[in-house]
């Protein structure tokens, strides 16, 4: 990304952080404000979308025209388990799907605090098993996501490994949130 656009996005994020810090906002309003950030993403041309029930998990297919039929990236959205949705991640996932030439399945996993850990991991695993039941081969499935979705992308593979089950073919973790103790030193140094 060019520096100018990157700076504009950082500025937008800063404005959003200031607005979201209002202590009078209820969670639903905070969620709405976070979903509205989805407008910042640009539509990727040549991608169509379809809602689907992925074994009980609401999900959205992002389907690039002429994409590979056999491979899929299972994608979990950002938002710390509490905010954002498959709607706010639609365009970003559409870009990823188009760049890879494969479909993306964006999950609308259950959010906290209504549904706490491990509801999110359970939903990702449910959707993964649904993909297998649809005939996708496990080595043609990439486990992907960003922010807490990056965590979920990795933890899916860990859960499968620990159960002795076949693993997905790849993990794509973008800006993953891995350390819930928040001991990462960049939490202090990258404050501006």
């Amino acid at each position: 990304m060019a520096r100018e656009q990157s700076d504009q996005l950082a500025e937008l994020n800063g404005v959003s952080r200031d607005r979201l810090s209002n202590p009078n906002l209820d969670l639903q309003t905070i969620r709405d404000m976070c979903d509205a950030l989805g407008a910042a993403g640009k539509e990727r041309e040549g991608v169509s979308y379809a809602e689907v029930d992925a074994g009980g998990v609401p999900a959205l297919w992002c389907i690039p025209a002429g994409c590979d039929d056999e491979a899929v990236v299972l994608f979990s959205h950002a938002g710390g388990t509490a905010v954002s949705s498959m709607s706010s991640d639609r365009k970003a996932a559409g870009h990823l799907a188009k760049a890879a030439g494969i479909r993306a399945l964006v999950l609308d996993y259950r959010r906290s605090p209504e549904n706490k850990f491990p509801a999110q991991q359970d939903d990702v695993e449910t959707a993964y098993r649904w993909l297998l039941a649809q005939g996708y081969r496990r080595d043609k499935i990439a486990s992907g996501g960003h922010s807490v979705g990056g965590n979920l992308a990795v933890s899916l593979a860990i859960r499968l490994r620990d159960q002795g089950l076949p693993l997905p073919g790849a993990i794509l973790a973008v800006s993953g949130w891995y350390d819930t103790e928040l001991k990462n030193p960049t939490l202090q140094t990258v404050t501006q």
């Binding site: 309003t29 989805g38 539509e43």
Partner: protein
């Protein structure tokens, strides 16, 4: 009989209205809350999207697979000129585009109160001229919109008519905001049934839209019921049975027909204001959108061209 989905949809609007009416919220927050109404619209399959600069107006193409290459729907979103956007209207516009088999250009016209009348009408005209500049013929363009966008769809044709220019081939005006004086009987009569609009909300919209412009609420430029409706292309008017604007929309249809135009008026049973947001979910809405598609194809000569 009213479908359960129509009832759920009305309740969804009621919840949205209640949440956005918090008096401590600033306009940005209200906009963000109402923007989420799009979750009521199901993603239409087989449609791709492309953002475009339509002569300086932000816009979004909704392109159904296999759609006609020559015709276009110029789509204007709801929100009283103040709220919602091309993003919140994307899926609803795409459902109409898919029903018609015609691509839709959804405009993100400038909003009030930052940009008051006539900024919105000017943006629609700019985008229309941009379409002409890209080779679309006037008779192959349908001027479409809902709520304030339903007004804009008509106002565009009136501006072009007044200058003696070629008119678009059709006007599809859904739940149009025709009378900013709010004199229609359903403003009071449907107050309990309309779960989205209220008199205070409409007063807020018209204040943002017109205050300080010197344009009166009765001015024919902004009040379709006071305007010259002669010499317009075929018009389809759709409105919901339960909305505040039902009576003025029916009156608009009568006057447009009385002015000598080819007019079809459809009241959607148990329909809320801007019911098209329930597309893909509410059967009554899907039925209305299917009819709109047939009317658009017929009026823009698509079925004749294919025959």
């Amino acid at each position: 009989m009213t479908s359960t989905q129509a009832v759920e949809f009305a309740n969804f609007f009621a919840d949205l209205s209640q949440r956005s009416a918090n008096p401590t919220f600033d306009l940005s927050t209200i906009r963000d809350i109402v923007e989420t109404m799009h979750v009521a619209t199901k993603e239409p399959e087989g449609v791709t999207y492309a953002e475009v600069d339509a002569g300086g107006v932000e816009a979004l193409w909704c392109i159904p697979t296999g759609s006609d290459p020559l015709r276009v729907l110029l789509h204007n979103h709801m929100g009283g000129s103040v709220i919602t956007s091309m993003y919140s209207d994307r899926k609803a516009a795409a459902h109409i585009a898919k029903a018609a088999g015609i691509r839709s250009l959804v405009l993100n016209f400038r909003r009030s109160p930052e940009h008051k009348y006539p900024a919105q009408v000017e943006d629609v005209e700019t985008a229309y001229r941009w379409l002409l500049g890209h080779g679309y013929r006037p008779e192959n363009i349908a001027s479409v919109g809902h709520s304030i966008g339903g007004y804009l769809a008509v106002a565009l044709a009136q501006r072009l008519r007044d200058r003696g220019e070629a008119l678009p081939g059709a006007i599809l005006s859904i739940s149009p905001w025709c009378d900013p004086t709010m004199s229609g009987e359903s403003i009071e009569g449907n107050a309990d049934k309309d779960k989205l609009l209220s008199r205070p909300l409409l007063e807020f919209f018209r204040s943002c839209f017109l205050d300080g412009t010197g344009v009166e609420l009765t001015d024919p430029q902004v009040n379709l019921l006071n305007s010259d409706l002669s010499g317009l292309p075929p018009i389809a008017v759709y409105y919901g049975e339960d909305e505040l604007l039902a009576s003025e929309d029916a009156e608009f249809g009568r006057r447009a027909e009385g002015a000598g135009n080819e007019v079809t008026v459809t009241q959607v049973d148990a329909g809320q204001h801007s019911f098209i947001i329930g597309a893909g979910w509410v059967p009554e809405v899907d039925q209305a959108i299917a009819e709109m598609g047939v009317w658009l194809r017929s009026t823009l000569g698509l079925d004749a061209a294919a025959a």
